[in-house]
Subunit: 150 residues, 2 copies
C-alpha cells in the first residue's frame, strides 16, 4: 500500500512531517540553504541517487518551497531558488541542528561544524522561545488548545 499521507491532518506537526519526512528532503534543503542551487552540485555533495533528487526537487517546487529558474537558455540550464516559505523553514533545521549537536555526539566531543554569525563570527546556539514572553518553550508549561476563532 501507499505510505500514509499526513498533509491534510488538522495538526501542524503532521502536515510539516508529510513534507520534510520524505527521506533526504531536509538534507536537500540544507544544501539549498548553504548556497548549492544546481542539480549536479546537490547530487554530488549528498551522494543522493539522481532519481530521488529529481523527485524531491519536483515536490519541493510543487509545495512552493523552491522555484525552478532557467539561468541559461542554450543549452537549457536550471537552478533552484528558495521561496519565502522555503527560507522560513530554516529555523526548524536550526532547532534540529541545536538538538543534534547537544545529543547525537557521544564521543565526548561535539560535531565538527558549528553555526556562526556571518559578521561577528560568534558561535550561534539556536533556542526555541515563545515570541511574546521570550521564555524557552518547555513541554511542561504548554498544552494544546482549540484555536480562538477570529
Amino acid at each position: 500500500m501507499r505510505r500514509t499521507k499526513f498533509d491534510d491532518w488538522p495538526c501542524p506537526i503532521a502536515r510539516a512531517t508529510d513534507l520534510i519526512g520524505d527521506w533526504w528532503t531536509p538534507l536537500v534543503m540544507r544544501e539549498l540553504y548553504f548556497g548549492r542551487r544546481r542539480f549536479d552540485a546537490i547530487q554530488e555533495s549528498l551522494q543522493i541517487p539522481r532519481a530521488v533528487l529529481a523527485q524531491r526537487l519536483e515536490r519541493l517546487v510543487a509545495e512552493e518551497m523552491i522555484t525552478k529558474v532557467a539561468y541559461e537558455e542554450r543549452p537549457p540550464r536550471f537552478e533552484y531558488r528558495l521561496t519565502d516559505k522555503g527560507r522560513e523553514f530554516w529555523p526548524v533545521l536550526a532547532a534540529m541542528w541545536r538538538w543534534g549537536s547537544d545529543w547525537l555526539w557521544t564521543d565526548g566531543e561535539g560535531p565538527p561544524v558549528v553555526l556562526k554569525d556571518r559578521e561577528t563570527g560568534a558561535v550561534v546556539h539556536p533556542l526555541v522561545v515563545d515570541e511574546t514572553t521570550g521564555r524557552p518553550v518547555d513541554l511542561r508549561t504548554i498544552r494544546v488548545g482549540r484555536a480562538p476563532r477570529s
Copy 2:
C-alpha cells in the same frame, strides 16, 4: 537496496534526520508529548499500523529517546516514558508547529489547534532565536564554520 543512513554523518541535521526522518516518528513523539504512553493508545490515536508502531518504539528506546517501563506485572503491561533526550527534542517539533501553522493552511484560516501556556492560557508562538543575542536566527546572517577545538 537499504535506505541510506545518515546517523554517522558529520552534520547535526543529517544525524537528527536519520532519527526523526522515519515515517510516523515525529507523530509518535507528539503523542508522547501530549501524554499518551501506552501502545494501544498511540496506535488508536494515530491509526498507525501496529507493526510500524512497534518498530518505531523499539528504535526510540534504542536511541534513548524513551524508556519502556512495566507499570504492572501480572498481566504484563508496559508504558513508554520520555527521557531527557526525548523531552528536549520537543522544541524542534514546536518550531515545526510554528512553521506549519504559518505556511500549511491555505484556506485563509489557521489550524484548528494552537499551543497555549498552561497557566496563563495565552497562545504560544514558538520562535527560534540565538541563545546569546536573543535575535531570531536568519539564514542571511549565519554561516557554517569549523568547530573551535577546545
